[in-house]
Amino acid sequence: MAWSRDDMARRAAAELQDGFYVNLGIGIPTLVSNFIPPGITVQLQSENGMLGMGPFPFEGEEDPDLINAGKQTITELPTTSYFDSAQSFGMIRGGHIDVSILGAMQVAQNGDLANWMIPGRMVKGMGGAMDLVAGVKRVVVLMEHTARNEPKLLRECTLPLTGKGVVDMVITDLGVFEIDRAGMTLTELAPDVSLDEIRQKTEASFIVRVE
């Protein structure tokens, strides 16, 4: 049985450690904040200029001056600080954020990431994604294993890159892969998912070291 989106987010949350500073991308990664393991505290960074991001506001308490990088209304916490965009990306590009968890269209076995444009379609822009993958200490991709039955874990990305050799871990609905200089390693399988199924749905070559 493949992992649900919540399962994937829970698995990603297990990568967090007490005291971590974390940037969560839009989509499934947003769910990770619902599964912070008990006993640890992390601070969420929002690249539009906030550290210590709180949950959505109660209805009627929305503040137009308080939004996240997805432009959603949010709240502040007792630990919150605000800063300008240059300082925010100084934080990101200077290697001060511990983990970035974000979505992807394609990941290559060498850690290349594509998640910002499809040539020929309207391009919305990369926003802060290129900065995050270049600057954050550890990049975790959370994505469905395939898109319309086509593999997303590839030998080489066919779409324009967001970053070269930047992904450290990929969590899909089928399992978990680690990527380092040696290449890609399958380290976990979702319950009842077979190695065969993963092999069939993955173009990238990987070695298997499932405990």
Binding site: E47, L66, E76
Partner: protein
Amino acid sequence: MNKIYPDAHAALAGLLRDGITIMSGGFGLCGIPELLIAAIRDSGVRGLTVISNNAGIDAAGLGLLLETRQIRKMVSSYVGENKLFADLYLSGALELEFNPQGTLAERIRAGGAGIPAFFTKTGVGTLIAEGKEVREFDGENYVMEKGLVADLSVIHAWKADREGNLVYRKTARNFNPVMATAGRITVAEVEHLVEPGALDPDHIHTPGIFVQRIVRAATFEKPIEQRTVRKRGN
């Protein structure tokens, strides 16, 4: 020297010419100089290059200047929420230069600080690095990016005093402080004008030296792009 102007039109008088480059603060619709953008629209100035993280939405923010075809080129990091933008771009009526958001912020800060170029890891090995110098420092590759300045910066702040010292509120700060430093002339639209000495000098985000003109945004309902809430009792 008086920096206070009675309204947005007066605050922009003499500053607008066809073909100039304008930096416009804000992230999404948060912290944008709404009244100044409307005054730029009303001026009829054309052929603008606008540097702004986003391009507004249909009928709000920079969307106003897209409707009237006053913008020739956008320099942005993300323009996703604007249907008209897509139409103009795809029809060739609008030029577009994408910058990674951090590169955009840093280029603007550099421009304001007299730095013509700097190196960053962001974008190495991607389309963004094409045609740019890539250089190795301590075994890693970096791409050279150039500082940005503008003929005019229009920004939004929460409070100002008559000296032009500015304080921003929450995430409405975003690009506004760096743009204040990179405009040859910076015009700030502010929600509150306070007496000299009312701002604690340790709390000032933008020193008055970066602000040449100020206009109070007397009434202005701030828009919300994505209203997300949770239920009480959760």
